[in-house]
Amino acid sequence: MSRRQLLKVEGLSLRFGGLQVLDDLSLTVREGRIVGLIGPNGAGKTSCFNCLTGIYRPQGGRVFFDGKDVSHLPTHRRARRGIARTWQNLGVIDALTVTENVMLAQHQRAGYSALAGMLGLAGTWHRERELRRDAAEIIEYFGLEDVADERAGELPYGVRKTCDMAMALATDPKMLMLDEPASGLSPEEALALGTTLRELRDRLRLTILMIEHHVPLVADVCDYVYVLNFGRLLTEGEPEAIQRHPEVIAAYLGGAAEPGAGSDGGTVPVAAADGPPDWPLVPEGPHSDGRPDGTA
Amino acid sequence: MGAFIALGVFQGAVYGLLAVGIVLVYKAKRVFNFAQGEFGGVAAFTAFSLVVSLGLPYWVGVAGGLAAAVAMGLTVERVIVRPLESESRTIMLVALVGVALFTIAIIVLLGQPIPRVMPPLVQGTGLNLLGAGILPQQLILLAVLAVLAAAMAWFFKTDLGLAVLASSQDTRAAQVVGISPVAISRLVWGMAALLGGIAGLLYAPVGIFTPGFMTLTMLVPAFAAAVLGGMTSLPGAFVGGIAIGVVQNLGIYLLGQQLKVPGAAELGVFALLMLVLLIRPQGLLGKEA
């Protein structure tokens, strides 16, 4: 396929003291695909995410996003270009409610300057109401409406995970980076997640890069998989091929790996059943108008 | 100039002594203990009441002062620190500021805000060091500081010390391995109060002491000393304290006396603090993280 390369990573290398965490890592993510990043614990997957989002400063290598070199941009500038991520240990703010968390994630879409908001200028009141409505829609899409006004910190792990995902989407991204989205989910929920991810890709034309240990899910949704080991690329390819790759089996899957164990979405997952097609982010997302800087 | 350096070294010894207590609490609780100075204040006032007002033997005053300090430490732990454990560090810091001010207010209420003089542990005239008169009491202070800093450094190598560190990092995990965070917390505050009490008892006889004498003038340099040393390093607290004392006095000499800049001592401390935090945030002797 000749889709556009949305993300291109060249020769990334990261060291902590004497520990070579990433070693000349290169990978490519094409637009509109779901790409998996798997590998043993400690292989450097999360570190790779941290380098891509600008949280770690790698010692070497370059990151291109949407055709432009973003290697030297700070985290928030990368986020504004359309990179969103979830966190292995959750990226929700515990002290805020689910709604507040989602509205927080809409930061770059607010469309007015912080100073204007503080002065209470006319447009900001209206825009606030719109943002609140959009947030409510996202919350409904993820089935969080029952807990919308509860503090995120008091919610069960799974719900907070969903909230994290909702927040990532609320930033109106081009590419979604998910760090173990299925961990802690029950098998049923993991299945539903697969359907959600495909839907996000197909309906919102999102590109997804996903770290995951839940092999059935990876096999189910990923178009392409990179396997990391000791910070290097072990192999890459289609999921089926990867699962048969002897080195992957030795390093990662272990003996009991049973290809295709996960059932594909035969049952209709709960969250997707009432997923609204008129999803606020797609058509009217204010990509075009210049986003004001966040500071006053 | 030499005299100022000598004065600084011995002035710095008090900062160091306070800094050791601050470092202990910081390592154990990730809290900046603003009440550290008042442990010394309480000890000094108690000892003064026993020795001067009631005319009891000196050792009774020392024992009573230390006991009062430790009692205060345990009370603070029970009444303030433990209930606020789950609150943000900011709230805890403010609460400890409150404890310090509360203690000062109590001392003022009970004992008048007048200056007092505590007889020294050892009588005797000062010896001349580089032109500065140094009292025997100050020599003892410096020696005690060195011993205590070393003892505390050793403590954190023991199992108990590790447990103290552990419960500061993850209370849940500490409970899970069978450490009682409450017991550790008591131990830490008791020890910190003891250190503060020692500092107060040793420093009070060096000059005049007033309510809040440790907090209002010693605490900020002591914190600076702790930070300078890396905040978690006990030898660092020692070195940092002395460095701060010397910088203060050099500031007074060079800036204050030669250049007539007001507030030279504070300026010196502030400049040093900024320099360390911005250039070597882990402090002189601190490790990363």
Binding site: - | M1, G2, A3, F4, L7, Q11, V52, V108, Q112, P113, I114, P115, R116, V117, P119, T125, G126, N128, L130, G131, A132, G133, V206, G207, I208, T210, T217, Q248, N249, I252, Y253, G256, Q257, P262, G263, A265
Partner: protein
């Protein structure tokens, strides 16, 4: 270096709304650098004319009908002093001292002035000028004090005096700075100002202590413009002495290094004009033992002496100029004081004694104002009058608000518990 600034402050003080007596008082003598350009400021010893200060109220204040604080049976007086803050006084001395004279000063009974007794209200100024101003307003306006008394603390006295002048409230304090005070037409100093005392102090050091070499003398004076006149008075009289100006919030131990280290050398006599705590810190910390002398450690002297003496007798022999003779000799100068103390059944100290003297001065002033007491009448009566109490110096407000010419010299004695004894009483020169 500071003169220019200094003038500005004085001027600014003069602009204060209500400082109204700005009837062109003629300037002071030209040699008096500090006050050279000050409108109506009283100069040095009798250096200025009479129209600046007390004289100001001739312009129609007489019988102005402001009877705030005066009823048929009482007169209310407001007192401010620091009970908290950087240099506080003992609360209990103050509590007993402020009413002693008014309640027991009349042969063991309450003082009556034309059938009126005197009540006091009191406020803590926290050793902060802004607080002083605020509490003075509260006392004068809310608690209806007829007149205000400042018990100690130069900057606070100055702040309150300025407020008092702006609202035409009579204000009495021991003599402190002259800066910005000469033009205040409701202010009266009950003892010599620092500016007046320092040349005398210089003479005293030379003739009584026998130290004549300026390089053997140091002045340690808190760094406030309000003490500039004191420093100037001293250096003008003594010559080129070493002057240290510690900041108001600085601790004594740092200045100690200055005093006794090899770099600066030892001094034979050290003139201190700082907060008591600072002085004590300095005395206790310095390894050398210079002869401390000073003016204006006005309240709580004995407290300072006893503290200083317990710190290895570090203040032994210190001599201070004081408005009153020593408390230890109070019976000699005013037996009524001891009688009143007995009648009240309190434990007196020098704070009580000072309050007694100041109250006595005020009593004479109130008497002079006559039966139809109002603020205007009071100010008129006091300006230009003489008062003599035998406790405070004799006063003559003919030439403005700085009407005292006598001081007493007290000496710190450590034996028998630190205290002061009178070396000279009511002298006006050495």
């Amino acid at each position: 270096q500071f003169e220019g600034v200094h003038e500005d402050f004085v001027e600014a003080g003069g602009e204060n709304p209500g400082l109204g007596g700005a009837s062109e008082g003629t300037g002071a003598d030209g040699t008096d650098g500090t006050d050279a350009s000050t409108e109506g400021a009283g100069g040095g010893d009798g250096g200025s004319d009479g129209d600046g200060g007390g004289g100001g109220n001739d312009n129609g204040n007489a019988g102005n009908g402001d009877t705030t604080g005066v009823t048929d049976s009482t007169i209310t007086i407001g007192i401010h002093a620091p009970l908290t803050g950087a240099a506080p006084l003992r609360q209990d001395s103050f509590e007993t001292g402020k009413d002693l004279y008014w309640q027991y000063g009349n042969g063991g009974g309450p003082v009556e002035i034309f059938g009126r007794t005197v009540e006091t209200v009191f406020a803590d100024d926290q050793y902060r000028p802004s607080t002083a101003r605020q509490v003075c307003q509260t006392m004068a306006e809310e608690q209806q004090a007829f007149a205000l008394i400042g018990a100690g603390g130069t900057d606070q006295i100055q702040a309150c005096a300025q407020y008092a002048a702006s609202e035409d409230v009579p204000y009495l304090s021991t003599g402190v700075t002259e800066t910005g005070m000469g033009s205040l037409d409701t202010y009266f100093a009950a003892s010599m100002t620092y500016r007046q005392q320092t040349p005398m102090l210089a003479d005293y050091i030379k003739s009584e202590l026998g130290v004549t070499d300026p390089s053997r003398v140091a002045a340690v004076v808190t760094n406030t413009p309000n003490f500039d006149d004191a420093v100037e008075g001293f250096t003008d009289a003594f010559g080129d002495v070493d002057v240290f100006r510690p900041d108001k919030n600085e601790r004594g131990s740092s200045a100690a290094g200055n005093l006794c280290t090899g770099t600066v050398g030892n001094y034979d006599a050290v003139f201190v004009l700082t907060s008591p705590t600072f002085y004590l810190e300095m005395a206790a910390a310095s390894g050398c033992r210079p002869q401390f002398v000073g003016v204006g450690v006005s309240m709580g002297l004995d407290q300072v002496a006893s503290t200083g003496c317990s710190a290895a007798s570090s203040t032994e022999g210190a001599r201070f100029f004081n408005p009153t003779p020593a408390f230890a000799d109070a019976g000699e100068y005013d037996p009524a004081f001891l009688a009143a103390v007995d009648a009240a059944g309190i434990e007196a100290d020098d704070v009580t004694w000072m309050m007694w003297g100041q109250s006595k001065v005020l009593h004479q002033m109130l008497e002079k104002a006559g039966e139809d007491l109002d603020r205007g009448a009071f100010l008129d009566a006091v300006a230009g009058s003489n008062f003599s109490t035998g406790v405070f110096p004799d006063l003559n407000y003919k030439d403005g608000p700085f009407g005292a010419t006598q001081v007493s010299v007290l000496r710190n004695v450590c034996s028998g518990g630190g205290h002061y004894e009178t070396d000279h009483a009511f002298v006006s020169g050495f």
